[in-house]
Point group: C2
Chain length 379, copies 2
């Protein structure tokens, strides 16, 4: 009926419209599907991906019971035997002890190499469950069902997994690409407003660093985006996902000049999280403030003018994001910046703007400029 796309038709939603990205990696290619009610196609999409075996669904407890049951039923409709583990997962227990709970469960049920782990939840869930899947029997298939906006537009794509140890955040991890990423925008309806804003920070960032047109859309339609009204927000999420997917395809291991651009705002963002105490700011909030500091550096270096910095502030504020972090010590901040793990051989590689939708990296930023930039967001 539909010619060559017939085999790709989705029983409930229009496949081609929902396909946001195809990510190409050394571990294989995978689709990122974004749409409303796509969760009901989870089993169908797994099957289309060619996955066999049992589905081990690990979900953040906040998604239990209704969203997880709906996912489980979709898996069963696809013909998969399922097991469900709902766990309280958060930054405070993103550690090996929690990973061990997943291992124990997989061991108990004798999950084998042909089985599939499905991670359903926010970014922490994806990081932690992805790590468990990466290290179980030297890696089993993982499918991400991110349910927070930040996880959708950012962490669910690209195969990064991470676990904290007492010495630091995300010091453990592995690159383990998923076989499929399925994002149901309906899951965002129950996400707290502050977490939504933190997610928009990452999405807007993609526009700021790589796509002036997307940035423009985010500026024009902020209220509509935030209300998740109509098609535009879903389209914008898809576009943001596509940017992330392209970058991962071009620079899978962050060894080149592409993937690092996504760290715009992160050097100082990480320092803010650390100095203020993890949990004070959401990651996206800290990144928003970090982008303002990075913007200040770029202005000081003459790379951009103040107008663009102001424009950045305005768009962030229109998504209810903070652009300043009051009450932190500038010296502590500088120390934290230096110990950020993105530094290599002691030199910090800064991601800085050259214009709207255009970022680059610089290793030659004098500490004095960093200090002034940090001061500008602390005042």
């Amino acid at each position: 009926m539909h010619g060559k796309t017939a085999g790709w038709l989705n029983p409930m939603t229009d496949q081609d419209q929902n396909l946001a990205a195809i990510v190409n990696t050394t571990q294989g290619s995978y689709r990122v599907i974004v749409g409303r009610d796509v969760i009901d196609d989870l089993g169908f999409e797994l099957k289309k991906t060619g996955l066999q075996g049992r589905a081990f669904l690990v979900a953040d407890e906040v998604m239990f019971p209704n969203p997880t049951r709906r996912a489980q039923e979709a898996l069963e409709r696809g013909g998969y035997a399922t097991h469900l583990l709902a766990l309280e997962i958060g930054e405070s227990n993103k550690n090996l002890e929690t990973v061990q709970l997943v291992y124990d469960w997989l061991a108990e049920l004798r999950a084998d190499r042909g089985d599939i782990v499905v991670a359903m939840g926010g970014g922490v869930t994806g990081d932690l469950v992805g790590f468990a899947a990466a290290t179980w029997l030297r890696g089993v298939a993982v499918v991400h069902v991110p349910t927070s906006l930040a996880a959708m537009v950012d962490s669910s794509i690209g195969g990064k997994t991470g676990v904290n140890i007492p010495n630091g955040k995300n010091l453990l991890g592995a690159f383990h690409q998923p076989k499929l990423v399925l994002q149901d925008v309906g899951h965002l309806d129950s996400l707290p407003a502050r977490e939504m804003s933190a997610g928009w920070a990452e999405a807007v960032k993609h526009g700021i660093i790589l796509d002036a047109q997307l940035l423009d859309t985010f500026e024009r339609l902020a209220p509509q985006m935030r209300a998740l009204e109509g098609d535009e927000p879903v389209d914008a999420i898809r576009k943001s996902v596509a940017i992330k997917g392209d970058i991962v395809s071009a620079d899978e291991f962050e060894t080149g000049d592409h993937r690092i651009l996504l760290n715009y705002g992160h050097t100082i963002g990480h320092a803010i999280e650390k100095v203020s105490g993890y949990g004070t700011y959401l990651h996206g909030e800290a990144v928003a403030i970090g982008m303002m500091a990075a913007g200040k550096i770029a202005v000081q270096l003459g790379m951009i003018d103040t107008n663009l910095l102001n424009r950045q502030r305005a768009v962030l504020e229109s998504y209810a994001l903070p652009t300043r972090a009051v009450g932190l010590d500038v010296n502590e901040m500088i120390e934290a910046t230096k110990s950020d793990k993105k530094s290599r051989g002691g030199t910090i590689r800064w991601v800085l703007l050259e214009g709207p939708g255009k970022a680059t990296t610089r290793c030659d930023v004098p500490e004095e400029l960093v200090r002034e930039a940090i001061q500008s967001i602390l005042d």
Copy 2:
């Protein structure tokens, strides 16, 4: 002076002669160097591999202080800043707690993505330190310096890493290919005789399953091999390494029909280790007995004649390997065979001989034949 190979000349040993294999994987290609006194070239070889950063040498305590200090000095001569951690590493502490000790050390010294982990020791060291490297900052470069024969001809090549949890052996792991494998045959001079034999089991196995000529060499020169006299043992190790390297290059993730052949003798070998209690038999010893059981199955299926089975027994015995396991319960053995993690979807994929140097896989072995084969090695 030497034309196109000039750039590859080693200052102390003849590079081309010592190069046993180049392994090609999705994570990159790497050289396996085998020879006497090559440990003194460690820093030079790392440099030639293009590795930068600090070298974090993690060694089995039995290699401390002399062999580790020699390795460390070689690294320093290559211009590397080094850190050394000597750990008691064995099957009994091949767990996440020991991995955590490595993490703590790396964290303390702020090992970053550009640094190198060098694992020096036997198979357990390679598995455990390889796992730590695979999961530190989503994977840092690892170089293997295997010091046992089993690790040289088998586990150091192919990127498998593994850690035990209470529920089972090697349930955790990752595929993390090394950047270089450097094997100094001189390290074998201090290896206990029983461990040497266990290593020969894996080397001989490579001949049995894939190279009739190598099998013939192992049969003819057993006393000379065992005494490590002259060039033949080093050549045989190189040849065995090359077979392993070719298989890994052809079937990196054991998803095809190649790498599984290396599991010849392992299904029943693992069962023997489990039922007798881990540590009763060395892995290579259990594999030797397992090869005898697999040989019996092949005879029963009419794939080989009794002569080849007897020939296999003779060569194993000439390396002081056991070919029987007295005192184990046949029913327990069958149960353990079924739960071997190589099984997929419940069916055991047996690696069986079709002739000398020729192995294949079969999934249709009736339990009754398995029982008879197990009985034949228990009597």
